[in-house]
Symmetry: D2
Subunit: 378 residues, 4 copies
């Protein structure tokens, strides 16, 4: 008995590196796990050259490859343009895709400057296309649970925040330059600080004022992998900042890609008048909840399980652990819902622009050594 096949939605992917592979995997998996409106079909992969693209297409299972992303954007059979190319390419590709009426799914940070990000936002809004930006850590069921707990008032009024995204991939002074160290949109704060900023905003709302210090720990780095030529570094390796949310809550955050010993410490603690929450991506399948309610006080380690959607999509039994790539599958499921006209869960381009604006405000506060306000002007 031939199975009824779902309708198809055509995927075009630009880039096939770290994130490219991760997107491709998510598009392959999603329809077997989620009840999607349409099943992704991997149609076009664009990379820097035709050759690279052809090989990547074969590896990742795309029907064809191209060395020119314009071709991908213009292809009739591409409905969703996924952008996992270096940051500097996000704006031109996204703008072209929006103009072509495509759903645009772009990796973070949205662009290299807040100004460019705002332009992208306006272009997409004008075109009326669906947008989604790859802040995948927000997809964790434990983060959704945290948000619900906060919104419900279960921990009382929020009193403080302490957050961080610390990794060590640039701790080695001989880690070379790349698009990540490009003064346009690079540095630890833009690269991974954007994750903790987006999460802070998701959980506690807009940030109003910042005062940070951006530090370059290694003054020079090899020009290329393995090269002997060393070029100066103009971006931060580590940033510490004070933040004040529009709600009045204050706290601190850190972005650090030279945090020796840490590989994925995207972590935070939120205190309230009646309870507290703590999370680290190093233990991504649990959320710590402290409650002052009558009873035995202490942090309860809530383990991810089917009680925390969409965990059950992956496994009917608790404790079986989602992994990093699963977060991207959830993101893609949400993307397909929005693409099909369902609720757009975000973060969309506008939200990603706000994150980028926050990054730049911290950078500017570091330069001027003053608090910088992010409040919307009059």
């Amino acid at each position: 008995m031939t199975a009824k096949r779902k309708p198809k939605v055509g995927i075009g992917l630009v880039g096939s590196g770290f994130m490219g592979r991760c997107h491709a995997n998510a598009f392959r998996s999603v329809a077997g796990l989620f009840d999607v409106a349409a099943e992704p079909e991997l149609r076009v992969l664009a990379d820097a050259t035709d050759d690279l693209a052809a090989r990547a297409a074969a590896t990742l299972g795309f029907a064809r490859g191209t060395g020119d992303w314009n071709e991908l954007v213009d292809a009739d059979d591409v409905d969703i343009v996924a952008i996992t190319a270096p940051n500097v390419l996000h704006a031109p590709i996204a703008n072209a895709a929006a103009a072509a009426g495509k759903t645009v799914y772009c990796e973070k940070p949205l662009s290299t400057t807040a100004e460019a990000a705002l332009e992208m936002t306006r272009a997409a809004e004008a075109a009326g296309v669906v947008t989604l930006v790859g802040f995948n850590f927000l997809r964790n069921p434990m983060i959704r649970l945290a948000r619900e707990i906060i919104d419900s008032g279960e921990i009382g009024e929020v009193t403080g925040f302490r957050g961080r995204h610390a990794e060590n991939y640039m701790a080695d002074p001989d880690a070379p330059h790349s698009f990540r160290t490009d003064p346009q949109g690079g540095g630890a704060l833009a690269d991974i600080g954007s994750h903790i900023i987006s999460m802070a905003r998701f959980l506690l709302g807009p940030i109003d004022e910042v005062q940070g210090e951006c530090r370059t720990l290694h003054a020079t780095r090899p020009a290329e992998p393995g090269s002997h030529e060393r070029l100066p570094v103009e971006v931060d390796d580590m940033t510490h900042a004070l933040v004040r949310f529009a709600s009045g809550v204050s706290g601190s955050l850190e972005a650090n890609w030279a945090a020796t010993g840490r590989t994925m410490d995207l972590s935070w603690e939120i205190t309230g008048t009646r309870g507290a929450l703590a999370f680290s991506q190093e233990a991504m399948n649990e959320l710590l909840l402290y409650s002052n309610a009558p009873g035995r006080r202490g942090f309860t380690r809530i383990e991810a399980g089917p009680a925390h959607p969409p965990y059950g999509r992956f496994c009917p039994a608790p404790g079986h652990h989602l992994g990093f790539n699963d977060l991207k599958v959830i993101e893609v499921a949400d993307l397909l819902t929005a693409h099909a006209g369902g609720p757009a869960v975000g973060p969309d381009f506008r939200e990603a622009y706000e994150v980028q604006r926050t990054v730049e405000a911290i950078q500017s506060s570091s330069a001027t050594r003053r608090w910088v306000s992010l409040r919307p002007g009059p």
Copy 2:
């Protein structure tokens, strides 16, 4: 530029429950992550009825469904038969598949009795087909690392073992009967004890002698989900056992599906004369290593990363966490390698038979209250 497509290998899947979905996902994902010889194509899904099968095929992305697994086994376009049906069906399906010359990929426990498992083993060996049994936890890069560390002598001579697989899915006395409580092949020891036994064997070699106690904690359970009729339980909810390995090492193990509070405590500690190792599936992305070597003593928490193959297939950065479903993807990648004539990494049917023999020896020791030997006869 059209991408060069890989050759295809036809997949037939029997069952579409917990494990069926997990297998399907692994077959969908694997070719985008691993450099497989042939790309799986989801061709036939068999379930209890035509209707169930048709719906599952549509959901999971199989080309067609059937209510008769014989049809699947006989299908010319099915190269690999994956069995995720209840235990009692493993033998007939596997034997038929082997007779048809198919690669047989069967969920654990291999069968309902050691005798049946031995017959399956002989049938498959006679047919000369590739077999693989779904002890997916062995695929964890951290478990491979543990095995390497033990084999290298880094922790000295092994002196002790303490292992456990504890979950809580049957802790509730109102959790109903299912194939898991069938006296043929059911019970905590057969269901999940088989995982810790297979892991113990993988790490430390054959178990020679056992003395266990199998306990039924809840004397009756509902006949069906939600039913008021209660039927007696004839299988164990919790088993504790003493074990002695052929190497002379001794220790203990536990199988427990009524371990309130535990959802995935497949854990062990192995001590040696110069070091020790500890692992729990609750923290599946880390391995604890203690070394007596000169320096600062203490357990080092080694985090999974690209240094531990095949982690890098999923992510180029350490600390990003594999999840439970990723283990199945690795298993399927190994299966495809063996199917294509590459090295068979096991565990094959024979190994799974040995696991089952160990399960039965423990059950028998509990009944006779004597140590039971597993040593091969003269």
Copy 3:
């Protein structure tokens, strides 16, 4: 204004090694922390020779020293005899002290054989003296809390137990012989296994049946510290056992002094039909409680604090951590209460005899490879 001094109680201490120092410290501290009926005065210290005793008395603050413990036992100004000498001396000293009408405070294990322990028990009971045995880990406020939680039914009916006392102080094959390896009363099971047995009994009541395996991991050890002569080892380095409590609960326990990597893993997990408890002395200031009660499931890490008596005697603020020596202070406070006619909280000699009987039953089950019953005869 001269302070009203408390009445004094005279202390005699036999032995000044590891435990001798610990007892002395507890006697010095207790009156400033607890509201004791009488303040301990350190009067006589006995050691192996006059010289050793004199030096230890000066170091630990005793008024005088003696090389003959009989003198201490007979001294009129000694009210409480504390025994921290090697195990073989416990019986003669305790019996003499009881005969002299003194309160007897003896280190564990009570004696070298269950038979001797029973004689000591009878002698003390006949003399009507207060006895207390140094199972200090029972004094932990978290252990009292665990007992209360179990007794209250908060975790439902107890279904399973898994316990262990694992350290590594004899892991090195060159760790020499000492009283700890004396076939009379020595070995890992008697030395530290007695701690987890006493705790299991404290929490869950008498153990009824056992089946264990005692293993000697290192066949010979140096005769003396540093000596080249090696003598055979007749005691166990590691014992694993199955246990069944009189209540019907079953489980396992381990005693291991060759557990590379572990320094104080006196730990257990107790599951019930409605909750679970877990504890390890490695994190002695916390108790993990899992509750099935409506709400957010997960283990709650309860931290020791003033809510858990007698923590508040040491510190008015939670989270400030008691240490190992503080447990001895609590033990001594309880001793002084009993000595002054207050409630005797135990464990007294009879309880310690029961622990020793359990040790011997496990040893005997290992020799005969049969389950051994501990049930009182008809």
Copy 4:
């Protein structure tokens, strides 16, 4: 044989609350654990009234009590004046004690203002007396180990710092006013922030520049315990700050006494170019060390043991856990060494003044919203 008694040193203690009891216990214990030059004799206890003092003297074992601390300071038989009275009394008592030529042992914070602390420092230096301030957390063997590791270069050049002292004892808006909320010297930053500042200085040297935000979370508090009258709060409940050390290292710190869920999170993480260290007082018996050295990367959990002096003074076996009160015993042992003319390990009054200056700089930066320099003037 009468034991040779050590010479005595006379102790006068002002205050008998939380810290008073802790000091008294340390003075009682120290001579049985450490090889001290002279044994403390508890001679005079001063409290707010004669009556309070008499009762506290009896409880804590002092020979006499007095309602007038001047009497204590002037007493011929008092050699060391220990100050555990409210902060506002530190200066007058310490200055009088110094003038009387006594060794002065004062609780933190040294005084209510940096100015007063500087005067105290000058008075003590002019008098040439030994001073010590009760930053007891520095006494932890794990902290000494951390300092050694940093100084040895084992973790390379230090690149970042992230520290915190968070507790929850003022999280409740109904926690009343006390000397801790006195605008003179009160607030979370002065009260407990001083601990993390002293530790940061101990580990990484002077702090050069700060920018903080001090927040009052609860605008009013009851005037007295249980009172209905509520008075405004003028001190901070929570402070977040950016810090830059004289060495060039930068980072952040937090002081928070309203951190729901935290009872003793005095914690920090220090990253270096070749390794990292992490510590929390919540797990005070361990230090986490990450090393980039060839081998298996990961944080190693070093457990406190005899290898880390003066742990062995308390226990010959590793893993047996020191407690909070033991830190005070170590502090007192160091005090007695300095009093007897041995090396003064500090922190002395001058160091405590520097801590207080840092506290005030952060407060001032919060008021002016500018970075504040702590560099010594030209």
